[in-house]
């Protein structure tokens, strides 16, 4: 370590420097100024230590200083920490790209902010909201990093719980819809069918205007029940997969709204049922929005299998909207939640007069896993 700076550890020398100033600096006005500045520095450091988890490392990441709060939360003593690097609290939660980005930011002299999960000595995990400030030398090269952290474990846990509740809720809803749909189709639908057969056989024995009318009404009821079952959740989605399900949905949509939809798809294999449901519901939501608000006569849906991700795009060149004024935006919210539930991402690009593009990306990890599950 060739370059050593006088204040390796934050304000370490303030206390010893202060009494020496009397002798060293004859100019009393300047001296007072200096004294006050130094005192202030020490006070700020005290306040920081009281409020936050603080660590200082050299430019290689070796820990030079930790405050009591750091020791307390990590469960390590100061002696165990100093001289180590931050890998000691690494929870292997964050991937290499994450760490690379962090180091690229701070080593170029910029401040990094983010949330990190760390591992304490006893094996428990804690989340810290982290700000890393590089201290740079005259040439702009960082010689030291100051990391200020606040614990946000509870926040993160609540966040995760909320997310999992949300996912569960959507799964339960989907499961219920599937059940109702099946019951309608196979239960009431079948009963109506046999009723129709009975009426038909009675009709074959002798014409009767009233009976004929009854037959027609039963036929109509059958169509209604089938339609209801389809709307709840199309059985095609479970039986044949997303592509035939979407084709039928788009067909119905075109006829209902009088909007032409071009459907383009190059999916080779079936994604997981969860991913299929997500795609179906997102397309449904996005198209319904287009039908209701976009004031267009055309729209397009594209499904692409791009190696390890599936990309779904729903486009229209219509009125567009402003996110801020998109009303309660229940639809937008549920699309985002659905995407998150399968670790996908959704991007909604729209502005007034510019049309709307909904872009959903689902990682194919889901895909392969699902295929394996299906084979097992």
């Amino acid at each position: 370590m060739s370059e050593r700076y006088p204040s390796e550890n934050l304000a370490q020398y303030v206390e010893t420097l202060l009494p020496q100033l009397e002798k060293q600096i004859p100019d009393s006005e300047f001296r007072e100024l200096l004294q006050r500045s130094l005192k202030q520095l020490a006070d700020v450091k005290y306040a920081l230590d009281e409020a936050s988890i603080v660590a200082v490392t050299d430019r290689k990441g070796t820990i030079q200083y930790v405050n009591d709060k750091f020791c307390e939360i990590s469960g390590y003593s100061r002696e165990e920490l100093i001289g180590q690097d931050h890998r000691i609290v690494n929870s292997s939660m964050h991937n290499k790209a994450f760490m690379r980005e962090l180091w690229a930011t701070i080593s170029s002299g910029r401040v990094w902010r983010g949330e990190i999960r760390n591992r304490a000595k006893h094996g428990g995990y804690y989340w810290v909201d982290t700000t890393i400030v590089p201290f740079v030398d005259a040439e702009g090269r960082p010689y030291q990093y100051l990391a200020i952290r606040h614990e946000v474990t509870q926040l993160k846990e609540t966040e995760a719980q909320l997310q999992s509740m949300m996912t569960q809720m959507m799964n339960i809803q989907e499961e219920e819809r599937r059940r109702f749909s099946r019951d309608l189709h196979d239960g009431i639908g079948q009963s109506l069918f046999s009723l129709k057969i009975t009426i038909d056989s009675m009709l074959s024995e002798g014409k009767d205007a009233g009976l004929e009318r009854l037959g027609q009404q039963v036929a109509q009821l059958m169509v209604e029940v089938r339609g209801l079952a389809w709307e709840l959740r199309p059985s095609v989605l479970d039986d044949l997969g997303i592509v035939p399900a979407l084709r039928t949905y788009i067909d119905n949509f075109e006829r209902h709204y009088g909007i032409r939809v071009t459907f383009d798809c190059d999916l080779r294999k079936r994604p997981s049922l969860l991913a299929e449901t997500t795609i179906y519901r997102v397309v449904q939501e996005a198209l319904t929005n287009a039908g209701k608000y976009a004031e267009v006569s055309e729209a397009s849906v594209t499904l692409r299998g791009l190696g390890d991700i599936i990309e779904v795009a729903i486009d229209d060149k219509g009125k567009g909207f402003d996110r801020e004024n998109a009303g309660r935006g229940v639809g937008l919210f549920s699309m985002e939640e659905r995407a998150r539930a399968v670790s996908g991402r959704i991007r909604i690009v729209s502005s007034p007069g510019e049309g709307t593009k909904v872009l959903l990306k689902i990682p194919a990890g889901e895909l392969e896993k699902a295929n394996r599950e299906r084979e097992e």
Binding site: Q220, V223, E224, R255, G258, R260, T288, S297
Partner: protein, 151 residues
């Protein structure tokens, strides 16, 4: 299918008579159980011609099924989350509409709709005009298509 045996003129005339923005005629096909918009007056685009309403919802479930006139207000449909069941309102950006059944032989064969792009309450005499027009259109809907099927 051509059906312009004075029906278009009837729609245009009706629009002037009650002073509404939009008038349209839909035919209910009992066989395929679909309500299709055939003619319009004052339309802002051609979308109406592509709309085929199925019987589970909207006008098919109300005007067609019950055979009674119905008043539609955008605000109410939005509040009850049923606006998607009325694609003709969406296609033309209507805020208010009044729909009456076209009856032939006590069966519903179509729907006549008058609509406005602003909020409007249709008065009794306006609603009556629509019923009379629907009656006049009924004969056109039932007589003509059978004739036109023969080459």
């Amino acid at each position: 299918m051509t059906m312009n045996n004075g029906a278009q003129e009837a729609l245009d005339g009706l629009r002037t008579e009650i002073g509404c923005d939009f008038c349209a005629l839909a035919v209910w096909s009992g066989e395929s159980r679909v309500l299709k918009w055939k003619l319009a007056s004052g339309n802002g685009n051609g979308k109406f011609a592509g709309i085929a309403e199925r019987e589970q919802s909207g006008l098919s479930q109300t005007v067609v099924k019950v055979g009674r006139a119905m008043s539609l207000q955008l605000a109410e449909l939005l509040a009850s989350r049923r606006i998607h069941e009325y694609p003709i309102l969406l296609a033309e950006g209507l805020r208010s509409a009044y729909a009456v059944p076209i009856l032939a032989d006590r069966k519903v064969v179509g729907v006549l709709l008058a609509g406005d792009r602003k909020r409007r309450i249709y008065r009794a005499e306006e609603r009556n005009s629509l019923l009379i027009a629907a009656d006049a259109l009924a004969s056109r809907l039932t007589d003509r298509p059978e004739q036109s099927t023969t080459p």
